[in-house]
Symmetry: C2
Amino acid sequence: MSSPISAYERNLDRNAANYEPLSPLSLLRRAARVYPDYPAIVHGPVRRTWAETYARCRRLGSALRSRGIGRNDTISILASNIPALYEAHFGIPMAGGVLNTINTRLDAAAVAFIIDHAESKMLLVSRDFLPLAQQALDIAANRPPLIVIEEEGASRSCWYEQFIAGGDPEFAWKGPEDEWQAISLSYTSGTTGNPKGVVTNHRGAYLNALGNTLAWSMPMHPVYLWTLPMFHCNGWCFPWTLAALAGTSVCMRKVSAKGIFDAIADDKVNHFCAAPTVLAFILSARPEEKRRLAHPVRVMTAGASPPAAVLEAMTKDGFDLTHVYGLTEVYGPVVVCAWKDRWNALPLDDQARLKARQGVPYQVLEDLTVMDPKTMTPVPADGETMGEVMMRGNVVMAGYFKNAAATGEAFAGGWFHTGDLGVLHPDGYVQLKDRSKDIIISGGENISSIEVEEVLYRHPAVLEAAVVARPDPVWGETPCAFITLRPGASATAQEIIAFCRANLAHFKCPKAVVFGELPKTSTGKIQKFELRKRTTDIVQPAA
Amino acid sequence: MSSPISAYERNLDRNAANYEPLSPLSLLRRAARVYPDYPAIVHGPVRRTWAETYARCRRLGSALRSRGIGRNDTISILASNIPALYEAHFGIPMAGGVLNTINTRLDAAAVAFIIDHAESKMLLVSRDFLPLAQQALDIAANRPPLIVIEEEGASRSCWYEQFIAGGDPEFAWKGPEDEWQAISLSYTSGTTGNPKGVVTNHRGAYLNALGNTLAWSMPMHPVYLWTLPMFHCNGWCFPWTLAALAGTSVCMRKVSAKGIFDAIADDKVNHFCAAPTVLAFILSARPEEKRRLAHPVRVMTAGASPPAAVLEAMTKDGFDLTHVYGLTEVYGPVVVCAWKDRWNALPLDDQARLKARQGVPYQVLEDLTVMDPKTMTPVPADGETMGEVMMRGNVVMAGYFKNAAATGEAFAGGWFHTGDLGVLHPDGYVQLKDRSKDIIISGGENISSIEVEEVLYRHPAVLEAAVVARPDPVWGETPCAFITLRPGASATAQEIIAFCRANLAHFKCPKAVVFGELPKTSTGKIQKFELRKRTTDIVQPAA
């Protein structure tokens, strides 16, 4: 009698020898085992090897356990890119806890909201953000114990150092029992309303840590500069990627063009991640701040579609740019503008246009497409038809913390809805066109604010530009441009509009131009909702 | 009232958007999507892109489904490294089936055993192995339908081609429902008794496909030469690795030194895997067969500890060797002799000695150690104390097919027992000393046959060497050397023994030396059990 169960399903189960929940913690253990004396951390005069870093992470994990921290306990941390924040990416999960990095640019009320909503069991805070933390704790209902991270090498009492000094450097930590266990809770910087808490797990963190190495073809032992805040969705998983590759983290408390050029020259940095605003920093560095690149420097950029002019200028300066796209909800970047060798033969301007596209899924992202969100059918791959960018796979979040409604909406129809509008090009590359709310509808025509911004960035006097809809009695909406000029440069609204008309369909050109500084969120994104409010005050006549 | 369930365990479940069973099939889909016109297969005059290869795999999957093949059905294939075998690595799992590659060097009885034990539902066989297949089917109780893979481009009827021509090039395949689902069944070439069927699954295959890219720091688009048979534990997962990197598979039906040099020069091959015997081929190529390397060629070698002399000679010829170690039970290589830059400053001979060590775990292997198998405690990391090499992690097999007893033994104590003896060096690197049965015990002293072989390989006249135990009335056992000399070289037993005495403790030196060809298994391993039998016939007096 034949068995109803296949022989492949008998006595071939998971066991301790052949199954281990995926977790980035195992990457740290390997780095320390194989490369104990290789540099892991550079922070001013502080230099630590992988053996030392692993011992410190174990001390942290052990110290947390001795304070009663365990599985699913949230530990919040408020710090810039210092070694303790790197260590938190390992030490907190080693204790079974969930790492909650808080954006240091938030105000006290927002920090208090997070500490309450996350139900934080402990708050680690670096000395420079202690006033912010104390203000937040004055407001918050939850009052977790505070551990202060002292400036390393300072003579005053080192509370974080005391805390971990009590921990066991040979702590016999255990990985998660289940790879679905939460590893991180990151609050998205919503422009309105309360932020949502994105829960990610050990499985996804492990896979996207490896995903970065594949999509960026990273070699072993990269020297990586922390321009990207680690509090931005866990530094796009790079703390874990660097453990996989036994690379060096060069910390940088405050980002400046000079600091970047110095780190490249002095610490031999060869990789960093940066938002386009950081690229703009680098490009507008004063001559005395710049230093010639003595070796190739690879830059991963995301956060907003980098203007072609910026991409072009960076390439001319010798930086090798890879454009990626992602969101906190997908562990950071999961889409890459994979470069084709044959494109190197094109004029630099065409290359920049191709590179400004968001691209194709990471190897570890299962699928990526652009759909009509009502019918959930993909748009034609014509580079024209707009739809919502959708993703699915193991590097999509578990969901929003204590927010089943938002989670349900985000995953409607079995895909993660990014909220970003885009097109699918005939070669399968996705390009963002706008956030749904950023599209400008003028006389029934859709205008992509990004397309108009692209043109503005090509104007030699423009440092930064943002285009939003301005209410118009005739057209419904018209594009309104907000511009920051380069230091020393000058331009009139008329000149800017004329430049646009020479490079764009006329209906897409701004009807009003406002000069000045652009309002930004704490994460450096331009606050278009703020600009939209300002459009009603504009008295400038339409050109 | 507080809930007993953590908020991290409510409404944050797996769903279609955030969970996909890991499977190497998704790597193929991505390669075809992102790099449709990049070369995937080179086989003589045949050139196929990733789009074409993906379409052919989908046709194969679809054709199998239309023949009723589904989940957990075994499909056997008997072929050398031809495109159909590459396609089988994707098409068979797409249909839900389990790929069973059969070693073409087996005899009909062994092939029949496999077809019966695997309960094969279909047998794919290339034209050149049709007589073997037919002989096997004459013996086997199971009589699966036969699909003959015709030589590509041949004018005769192409049965495999007809078969897949009936399949749908846009077959809407589905990945496995469960990543633990079997993807492959590979019979180990045991030297005695019936072979055991190693069952591996989609999860492990995916992870080790990525593991190869990390451990070997592989760039995108490698050009990879198939010297390693794909029927050796799925070509160490490289069919799937090449999909992850959109690399090119250069097929090679018969391995020869000339063929390797030609492929490097003509097809720009820059990566290949090879057993030490293939390296010996390359080193002893005739001058007119060799061609100068115009670009770096990286070679991954495993299968036996490569003699230091071979490593040294290959390096001198311009090949960049990476030494790995693994077994069919762990998806191929999972241990790598990770290279430290500082070792480059050492004399080449010392470098070779360091590189001859098996090394450290792959990033995707959870743990590796050397233990006393009785007490299951690790040996001291002194480079001296022998124990059994043990591994655990996601790249360890599910178990042996229909052999719960062998599976239980292999996984005793929660570790996979490799059956290989080794030591742990102070720097954490593992080095094999012998298979348990290959150790020589002479006068109560353990002698590592590998250590003696290492010395023999350094003798300029020696092409291949194997050392086994010879029964001895006084010492219990003594080492006996079997040697193949290089073409044109000559040496006497006395000279060889004197050479050993100059380089080894005297008790470790061979007491007898036999010259001639060495017997090998179908997988190219030297058959030590055969040599052991021959030692009883030796009349040569002890030196």
